[in-house]
Structure formats: structure tokens, C-alpha cells
Amino acid sequence: MPAVQETVERVKSIDVDQYKYGFVTDIESDKAPKGLDESTVRFISAKKGEPEWMLEWRLEAFRRWKTMQEPTWARVNYPKIDYQDLYYYAAPKQKKGPESLDEVDPEILKTYEKLGIPLREQEMLAGVQKSKIAVDAVFDSVSVVTTFKDELKKAGVIFSSMSDAIREHPDLVKQYLGSVVPITDNFFATLNSAVFSDGSFVYVPKGVRCPMELSTYFRMNEKNTGQFERTLIIADEGAYVSYLEGCTAPTRDENQLHAAVVELIALKDAEIKYSTVQNWYPGDAQGKGGVYNFVTKRGDCRGENSKISWTQVETGSAITWKYPSCILRGDNSSGEFYSIAISNGYQQVDSGTKMIHLGKNTTSRIISKGIAAGNSDNTYRGLVSANRRASGARNFTNCDSLLIGDKCGAHTVPYIEAKNSSAVFEHEATTSKISEDMLFYCMQRGLSQEDAVALVVNGFVKDVLQHLPMEFAVEAQKLIAISLEGSVG
């Protein structure tokens, strides 16, 4: 049987991936009543002890949301979501916020241990990890612990849960929250604005280079619960920060909803590097279950010479709807988007970026690698635009798609709008199939078919992998191999 044919057969018979993060943590949780109305919004705000202005902000978003329609332009299909059949808040039960790790429920600590996320600072320091990484761990709707807070504080860096930031740094939150993704932005972002529960907050002051990588680890545990996290990162003038998020969820038959909002603000001469390794549960081989991932991520290069760089490795979720974007407002600012999106089984990915050139001499770069296997559909959707006053704007885009088998689809939908005649936009795109000849060549040199596919795919995504922080590049490489395990014979 020809190799590719065999591959297709294997995909049919195997579970989408041997998803190893599919376990459920047995823990009592504190939930808001099912469904969504104003009282739910009030409940969440009260649970978090929020000030009045925050509640008002949420309520305004909620009223707006009620008038909005779910978007339908993406190339994804899913049954209608009943927003009244969801829980909007779930928190591990405890009397008050934990003061130290010793007060965190051991079941939760065990969960992170199983996931390989280090939460104990001393273990991290004593352990094999070469570089220090500060972690904010978000479990369902709340942040359970943030590490290395004190050390970061010495450098003047604020790294905390969003809930803490609202209480402790209200001025910063008021000034920046919703300034990149306004509450009216889109259906899912508006929903998030009304009911967001937690997330991470980062502020790096003027001229400070954040002394370590910051990272947030999101875990969805509860059944029928939406996760709506909100992340806000501000790099003040001349500051630098590198941030990574990772995500997993248990294996469940029901679909889980995830609608997050991430806002990045880079002031003059500042740089933010944001990396994502997204591995939400993708559903089983028949396409049952899995996470619906509707995410709005946007960065604002507000000052001159600022830079924002998005790197994403997307392997999970039943549906991915996600377009990390850059608004290039400051003159000479630059935006980058590096993406690897892998779909297998019945996964549907509609992802890409928007590079909005407003300032003069702004530059952007897009490298997107889509890999489709099984019965999946993988779409790149991107917008590159230049405003009238964006003279000297430059963009380079490269979108490559790789198909494995003949039941999957790859689509590229680029939008290009230049209102300034001096803008130079370049677009390159290729679609290729893993050829039988290439696999045969590798196998003739002794590689198993699985190793041959992994080798070819790793070569395909190399340009993007090298933009991830080292530790995560290794993790991502493994994840890619696991995600494609079902697709090779």
C-alpha cells in the first residue's frame, strides 16, 4: 500500500492524538449559577472584590454584547453555542486567596506537577532548568499562584494576576485596559470584557529589561465552563519583556468554550515578545469534544521604534479562531508574526494576523506555516494595511501550507490594502503535499515512516521554531511530533 494511503488509513483508526493532558482534577469548585445575565456579571465582579468602575466597565460590555451577533465569516463549522448553558465562573474552593504555595490545594499543585509546570521556586532553582522562568498559573477562572514575584519586584516589574492588579494597580489598569481591544471590538472580545475572570498582568517600567522569561499556564478543568482570561502587558519606554503562555484542558465529550483577550502595549523604544504554545484538547478521532478557541490578541506599538513579536505554535483545540495582530502606530515601529498551526483529525483552524501600518517607516513580517492532516481544515487569514500617512511602510509575508493525506484542506486568504503609494508589500505563498518520493528517499536511508514525516515537517517549520525561546522550541518540536502521531503509519 502506498505510504500516503497508509497514512490516511492510520488517521482513520487512531485517536486524533494521544492527548496526554486529558486527565481531570477532582476538586470542589465554587461556581456562578449557570447562564449569563447582569447578575452573573455582578457575581463575578463581587467574587473578585472589584471596585465600582470595573463593574460598570463589565456591565457596559455586557449590554453591548446582547446587541451583537456571533461572527460567521471564518471557515469553521460548529453547532450553535448556547451561551445560557455555560458556567461563567469556576474557582477551586477555598476561603481566601492563598498567601503562599503551602496554602494552595495539593490537588492543584499535583495537576501542575503532572503538566510539568514548575511552581515551587526553590525546586525550580535547584532543578535542571537552566534559566529562571516566572509562572502565573491560572486554573479555570482564577490565578492560583504567581512565582518569583519578589525578585521581579526588585527590578520594578509587576507580574501578577489580573484580579490583584485591579485591586493593587487600579491606575495602570484603568489607563490601559481596553485601550487596544475596546469593549466594543467583536462578539467574543465583548463577551470576555463582561465576564473575564482572571489572567496575567505585566508592567515593565521605563528602561527595564525584564530579568527573566514570564509565563502563564492556563488549565481548564471544570465541565461546561467557559474560560475567559484577560491578559494585559505594558512595556514602558525602552523596556523589554518576553512572555510565554501554555494551555491544556482535560479530555471531555462536551465542547469547552475559551474566549480570551490579550492586549499588549509597547511605548517608545520598547519591545514585547509574546509566545504561545496552545495545546487545548482537540477532540477525539470522530471530532467529538474539544475546545472552541475564540481569541482576540492584539498589540499596539504605541511609541516610536517599538516592536511587538508574536510567535505561536497551535496544535490543539477543535476550533481555533485567532488573529494576533499589531497596530504599528509609532513611527519606525515593527511587528512580527511567526506561526505554526497544525490540524489533524477533525480540527478546524482559521488563524492569521493583522498588520496595521499607521506610522511612517513601519515594518512588519509574517511567516506562517500551516500543516493539515487527517480530515482537518487549516486556513490562514491575514490583513496587511497601510494608512494614508504610513509612508515607507513595508511588509513581507510568507504563507506555506503542507498537506498530509488527501482528506484535509489548506486555504490562504490574504487581504492587502495600501492607501499610501510608497508602501511596499510582498506576499509569497506555497502549498505542498508531503510527497511519497520524499518519504521514500528518507526511508531508503533507514528512517522509519514516522521519523521521515517528523523530519520533513520539522524542516518545514524551522523558520518559525527558531523564534521561540530555546526551552520552548524543544517542547514545541516534541508537541508537533505528538500531534502528527496519528497521521503517520
Binding site: A3, D437, F440, Q444, R445, L455
Partner: protein, 250 residues
Amino acid sequence: MNLLEVKNLHAEVVGKKILNGLSLTVEPGKVHAIMGPNGSGKSTLSYILAGKPGYEVTEGSVAFNGQNLLELPADERAAAGLFLAFQYPMEIPGVATMTFLRTALNSVRKQRGEAELSTPDFLRLVREKAADLKIDQEMLKRAVNVGFSGGEKKRNEILQMALLQPKLCVLDETDSGLDIDALKIVSDGVNKLRAPDRSFIVITHYQRLLNHIVPDVVHVMARGRIVKTGGAELARELEAKGYAAFEQAA
């Protein structure tokens, strides 16, 4: 025992019959040349030996070292010691040649029950073999065969052959696309690998290559079978008379 024993081999590709009762015996340490016109089935034979998908054997048998070769997948054939130097080596974008060589060597070693080579040992080995073929280190950093010249691709094939230490090397028109200097380098590389426990099947259109790699046995192939076998002098006779006379014999 013979290294390779092909008996009455019939094979087809997408329903088209290419091999018609081909028989061939290769003893250890010997160099066999197979010559023949376009479309006589030479490349098909090499693909069937290496286990390329899509080539269907309808009759006959192939024994390699006493083992039924046809029931093994391609990677196991490679591990068993069969190497095919491709007429058109594939390009693998983004994969450094060095990485590819190392992955291949370690895969084969693993299947042969040998330990993986350490990085210093591997680098030493590659440097030594590459120098023999006048391959510079820069080339090994580039992606496999991407942007390589015809000569570089063929030298890269022989380098892989030298690293993997096969028992039977099948060279499919290795001389095509080579200038005289490259032909000399490649031939020297092959001659260096000649050993009492290693055999070669050299597939070519032209006598030219056989001036450098002197065969022990020459076969003429036409219409999917071997129609004449002789010594090195047979190649010269072919060069003088052309294939037409033999095609009629088939």
C-alpha cells in the same frame, strides 16, 4: 552464498508491465553493470529492490542475504544493507544535510543493534568521508540537496553510501549530469568503497562510467529482462554497436 538472487521477476507500475521475468545473481564483492536503452526497466529494478511504494511485483522472488527482500519495508531494507544512490536525489527544505546524515546513520545503527554515535565521533566520521569526496563543510550545513548542483547531489549520495556502510550499493545512473571532473571524484569515491563483502549494481547508459568503475560482470537489459551477460568487454561492444541488436534479441 550469493548476496542477491533475483528469480523470474515480473513487475508493474500503475497497471503497466515493466519487468518481464528478470533474473540476476550478484556474488559478494562483485561489481555488476546493467546497461540498456531508455525504458528497458533499469530504474524500475532499482526501485523494486529498494521497496518504493507503487511498484507491484506480480511474480518471482528476490532473496537478499538469504532473506525474502520483498516482504520488508524500505527502512528495514536499508538497515539490512541495501543502498540506492538515486538518479534524482530528493530535496528536503529546512533540514540541514548534517542533521539528515546523522538521523539516517543513527536509524540504521539502531536497527542493526549498534549504539548511536556520539557527536564528536559522528563529526569526525563525516569530515573524513566528506574530504574523500571533496565535499566542503559549508555544503553539509545547507538543506539536503536544496540548491545543490548536479555534481553536489551525486557526491552527497556517495557520502551517504560511505556512512551507511551497505552490503549492496545500487547506483542508478549516477553519471547522468556529471562533468568529467565530478565523474572522476564520484568514481574514486565508489572505488574506495569496493570491498570483499560489498557488491555493486551500476546502472548506466554509457561505457564512460565503466572506464572509471571497472565492472566484473556486464548485463544488457531490454524490455524488462536481461538479454545478455558478459565481462567488461561487453560494455565496449555495446558502445560500438548500439542497443538495437540486443533489443531484437529480447
